[in-house]
Symmetry: C2
Subunit: 318 residues, 2 copies
Amino acid sequence: MYPRGVKMNMKKIVVAGGGVLGSQIALQSAFCGFDVTIWLRSEGSIERAQPKLLRLKEIYLNTLEAMKTNPAAYCRGFSCENELSADKINELKQKVEDAYDSITLTTSYEEAGNDADLIIEAIAEDPKQKIAFYQELAKHIPEKTIIATNSSTMLPSAFAQYTGRPEKYLALHFANEIWRNNTAEIMGHPDTGQEYYDAVCEFAENINMIPLKLKKEQPGYILNSMLVPFLSAAEALYADGVADFETIDKTWMLATGAPLGPFRILDVVGLTTAYNIGMMNPKASDPDTIEGKVAAMLKEKIDAGKTGINSGEGFYKY
Amino acid sequence: MYPRGVKMNMKKIVVAGGGVLGSQIALQSAFCGFDVTIWLRSEGSIERAQPKLLRLKEIYLNTLEAMKTNPAAYCRGFSCENELSADKINELKQKVEDAYDSITLTTSYEEAGNDADLIIEAIAEDPKQKIAFYQELAKHIPEKTIIATNSSTMLPSAFAQYTGRPEKYLALHFANEIWRNNTAEIMGHPDTGQEYYDAVCEFAENINMIPLKLKKEQPGYILNSMLVPFLSAAEALYADGVADFETIDKTWMLATGAPLGPFRILDVVGLTTAYNIGMMNPKASDPDTIEGKVAAMLKEKIDAGKTGINSGEGFYKY
Ligand SMILES: NC(=O)c1ccc[n+]([C@@H]2O[C@H](COP(=O)([O-])OP(=O)(O)OC[C@H]3O[C@@H](n4cnc5c(N)ncnc54)[C@H](O)[C@@H]3O)[C@@H](O)[C@H]2O)c1
Ligand SMILES: NC(=O)c1ccc[n+]([C@@H]2O[C@H](COP(=O)([O-])OP(=O)(O)OC[C@H]3O[C@@H](n4cnc5c(N)ncnc54)[C@H](O)[C@@H]3O)[C@@H](O)[C@H]2O)c1
């Protein structure tokens, strides 16, 4: 670990992909003072990314404004300080405006790669597309550049060889709504160099993330390694007719003091994601297994448009 | 369901066993106005049960006293009302004293069985001993008596035939520290009569428990069906060297808003219980499996006396 306070010399951060996560990582990094470039595949991608950034800027500004009067609005990604004066919040709002204005969008590998300290890959979860991207990228970046993937389901060891710099390649995994859910799981593969791992941990802290350090590769990182079996067990109880989902949630909340039960969490995660994870298990294709009953139960809801909190209804109505 | 407010005519409750849970169920039921008899196997058992009841009485009284000034001391098992005046609390304290004085302890099946409305079996978790108890009990109880088991790990269908009244037999599963953790999982077997199931739900409410209703038999009920895979996943991450236990706890708490992570929960549950549950899986006996590594990790702590919160140290120090 670098001693706290001693900054690595990271200046230029490149985010590849301007989707849900890419746009968040870019704005957050710029907000925290980094020089940010978003690399996008096409002019069409640039046109799709711009309104995402604008919407995010509004969310940042509105949330900060709300924090002036409502303590419940507080988001850890904006500042490590719990108590912020209105003046300080106005300063942070100005930083959001400046950050938004400062972000460069480009389709050029040269422009993105030139002098990049860290490239965070947040393109679609498709190994072929990621590999093609890494192979082309490798031709355009200087020796020093570290590359991190935000992939939720794939391991860095699956891609390291295509980057041309396996020792400078690892995973930096954010959570959706980065300004609020400010965790960053950091995971190397067997050949990741410790100094690059440490540098990425330091970067995560510098953009107000709480680094959660993995000591070895683990599919699902830390969170999903626990969340998936937990949610699957809850889904199985319900699909098997053991209890109502409300009873299952109540049991968990009363017994553990948690603010949400598994079916509320499923509504937040989204039923489509839960279904896709379930379908990775071959048993889910057999309707006579409990995994198959879970899949059928989720599919019925998805087909009815009840995909979770984002659609206004999942297990619960919102 | 019986309409709320219409009381079943349960008056006499018998608790079989005066251990950790039996003593709690007895005092709580007496506190809520039932006529309570504890049936114990021997005079020696009576001598061991008496100081447990006395200690519990002191806990009830001290907790109620603390509730006068400290809102955090509030325990849901004492009253459904959130705001209690000092006068009301003094009334409840008097009820504790009266309850304690009213409990009958006996080794006689006749005295216990005579006119019993509900017998709650809370004897040691040993099927042979439970069967012998049910077989003898069946000879001494009237037609009307309902029998419920508090067993954590066994299914009511395994014992129903020995009670002589399978339709009036089911599980009523409490949590340790019943006055605070006031949940009651209620689970029938395929031949349990609905009216008796409903009557036990009503009884649970009448002793200030929140009934958690299972619609069919499920090993581990609702809570342990989720808790066991969740805790096992966390243990596996740690035993496999993926991350520190503090990091794993932090990840869970930050991501789900839960007040405790899995290793704090393990300290509350107790590492011996966790170890025993793990050893039910044959893989745990093979040191090369991840289950075997988990078992070895827990055994090392248990052998060092670090069995959890009750011993002052488990994963954390207390
Ligand atoms: N959505 C989440 O909650 C979440 C959370 C953590 C990590 N992730 C990970 O982040 C990554 C991106 O996810 P997302 O939700 O932002 O996806 P998204 O679909 O919102 O965005 C994907 C982005 O990748 C671009 N893209 C697609 N194909 C490409 C290609 N061939 N070359 C270059 N760019 C391409 C798209 O234009 C878009 O900008 C994935 O690896 C995902 O696993 C997502
Ligand atoms: N301890 C917990 O947290 C907990 C929680 C929920 C349910 N339970 C269940 O409650 C039951 C009792 O557990 P406990 O923790 O109170 O155990 P305990 O060891 O504290 O008490 C067991 C009681 O059973 C009596 N007993 C032992 N053998 C007997 C026999 N042959 N005949 C009659 N009585 C006998 C003992 O004298 C003692 O009073 C078990 O079925 C257990 O699974 C325990």
